[in-house]
């Protein structure tokens, strides 16, 4: 069984140079080199193999080596250079000013990596310093150069805080860091992977932040107040609406009572109306019946009147016919007389004049047109007492108003 040798007991340690002569023990020691670890052997001042991902047994000790040293067949000087080959972040604090006088504090972060083939270059670092390299020591080494060649020029190109926070500034800072620090870091065996700057808040930014916070607080308060007012308005509206609804309900209830009363009155009225309507219908029926009766009497009277008129017309026609016959006979007689007078040459103007005069007198005796001449007391014919219209003697009813005579 062999002892495990640990070259690193602190995560900040990046590399370590070990004098293997100091590790002489009777027992063998081995080191397990993980994928992110490498070990360079410097034997008798010459750089030997660089190992990684390997178990290095008998690294510094063991009985065989003890015997070999006793016999003087082993190397006289053996040194082991261990290093971490993974990326390591180095934070370097800085403090500088922008062109407008604003002070900027922060950290410049540089991610470096030590590749296994560059491991021997670390000897440059250990030439004049302690045989342990940790992040702090590397930051100290790089600090001045970084400040003078990278940070100060970068901030000098930065006009204000907005540019300090911009992506372009970070890109330029990274490129500048790589350009300016590569010679130094490659001398030490490191490769720059990434660089960026982390700056704290400047005074102007603090003021701006304070102003923003105050404005935000004011806006918040305003928003709260607005929300509160809105809430109160909503409550007010709800309360008013509730009151209105209650009033409406009360009104409706009252109106309902009135309606009930009015409905009862309406029922009474309708009842009365129905009664009146029934009476009206009854009266109308009676009137209709009476009208029917009276119209029947009128029809009878009209029929009688028409019979009388027809007889009267017939009698007048008989009289007219009789008169016409008599006139024809007279005309015929007069014609014969005229012919006879003409035959006897007795038809003189005096005869004609006498003939016309007698004929006119005859017509005056017969009446105008032979029509029926009413008697002198015809103006005193009987009239209806109700409608004062003329009636004939013997009528039982007035043909105009239908009243019984």
């Amino acid at each position: 069984m062999s002892n495990r040798y640990k070259w690193r007991d602190n995560p900040n340690i990046l590399a370590r140079l070990i004098n293997a002569n100091n590790l002489n023990t009777w027992k063998a020691q081995e080191v397990v080199l993980k994928p992110n670890e490498a070990c360079a052997f410097i034997v008798d001042g010459r750089i030997g193999d660089i190992l990684t991902e390997k178990v290095v047994s008998n690294i510094a000790g063991g009985f065989n080596r003890f015997i070999g040293e006793m016999m003087g067949v082993t190397a006289k000087d053996r040194r082991l250079l261990f290093a971490m080959t993974g990326p390591a972040d180095i934070s370097i604090p800085f403090s500088s000013n922008l062109p407008n006088g604003t002070k900027v504090n922060g950290f410049a972060n540089i991610r470096v990596q030590l590749r296994s083939e560059d491991l021997p270059k670390l000897l440059n670092m250990f030439a004049n310093s302690a045989p342990i390299l940790d992040r702090k020591r590397l930051a100290e080494v790089l600090h001045n150069e970084l400040m003078m060649r990278v940070i100060t020029p970068s901030l000098a190109e930065c006009s204000d805080e907005a540019m300090l926070r911009s992506s372009a500034f970070q890109d330029k800072f990274e490129m500048r860091t790589e350009v300016e620090l590569r010679p130094t870091l490659s001398t030490l065996g490191f490769t720059i992977l990434k660089a960026f700057i982390t700056s704290n808040q400047t005074d102007n930014e603090k003021i701006a932040q304070l102003q923003t916070e105050l404005a935000a607080a004011t806006n918040t308060e305003g928003a709260h107040a607005e929300a509160l007012m809105e809430r109160i308005a909503i409550r007010e509206a709800a309360t008013l609406r509730r009151i209105e609804c209650e009033v409406n309900i009360a009104k409706a209830e009252a109106a309902g009572k009135v309606t009930v009363e009015l409905q009862s009155e309406l029922k009474e009225l309708r009842k009365q109306e129905a009664q009146w309507e029934a009476e009206l219908k009854r009266d109308e029926g009676r009137a209709n019946l009476r009208m029917k009766e009276s119209s029947h009497k009128t029809e009878q009277a009209m029929a009688l009147f028409e019979q009388v008129q027809a007889k009267k017309k017939e009698r007048i026609e008989q009289q007219m016919e009789h008169q016409n016959q008599r006139m024809d006979k007279q005309n015929e007689l007069q014609m014969k007389m005229m012919e006879m007078a003409a035959n006897n040459n007795a038809l003189t103007p005096e005869v004609m004049q006498e003939f016309l005069r007698q004929q006119t007198a005859q017509k005056a005796v017969d009446g105008p047109g032979g029509e029926f001449e009413p008697s002198a007391d015809s103006s005193k014919e009987p009239t209806c007492q109700s409608c004062s219209k003329p009636i004939m003697a013997g009528w039982k009813a007035c043909p105009h108003c239908g009243i019984a005579l």
């Binding site: 590749r115 890109d171 490129m175 350009v179």
Partner: protein, 200 residues
Amino acid sequence: MQYVRQTAQAIITRMYKQYMRQMPAVPIEVLPYVRGIQLVLSSYEGYTKGKRREADRLIRDEIKRAGTRARNHISNIHDTAFKTDRLSIAKIAKLATTQIDCLIEDVDKSVTGMNHAFFSGSRSAKVSDLKNLIKHDHDVIEMVTKAINIANSAEHAFSSSESDEDITNLIQQCQQMITSCQGFFNSRNKILGGLRQKAK
């Protein structure tokens, strides 16, 4: 109890070594690839028995070395472009160097392939796997060599005062080649990592 466990472990290891002895030498069909790799790495002999890790280490070191060469070319372009205030080229160059760093890191921390325990579920590499691996290594080295050539051309174009567009194109071609190489290299993890289950 401890001695019993150690004895059992010794028996298992012995059985495994006997199993490993059946691994052949370099198959004939991949010899052209081996010869091609040997043009770059003279000590490369393929994944013959007992030299598997050494071959893997050689290939990986070569890829890293080639990547570093390409990176140096691109870094020169980056530095000069930044100092002459041609920031567009410098930014492209920075992206390319970042990509190369990723490739180197992938290769540096890639799977080597282990002697897994005899009763473990992992399957040991077969002859067909090793053939694929040799061909794969050849292709990766070819790609990364092309990337170096493109990076060299880019630096030459930059120093020959060619147009920014041409230089940018060359740098981006180099970056593309490195990216392809990175993806291609990562696929070898399937072979060496013993990820596949043992055939039942």
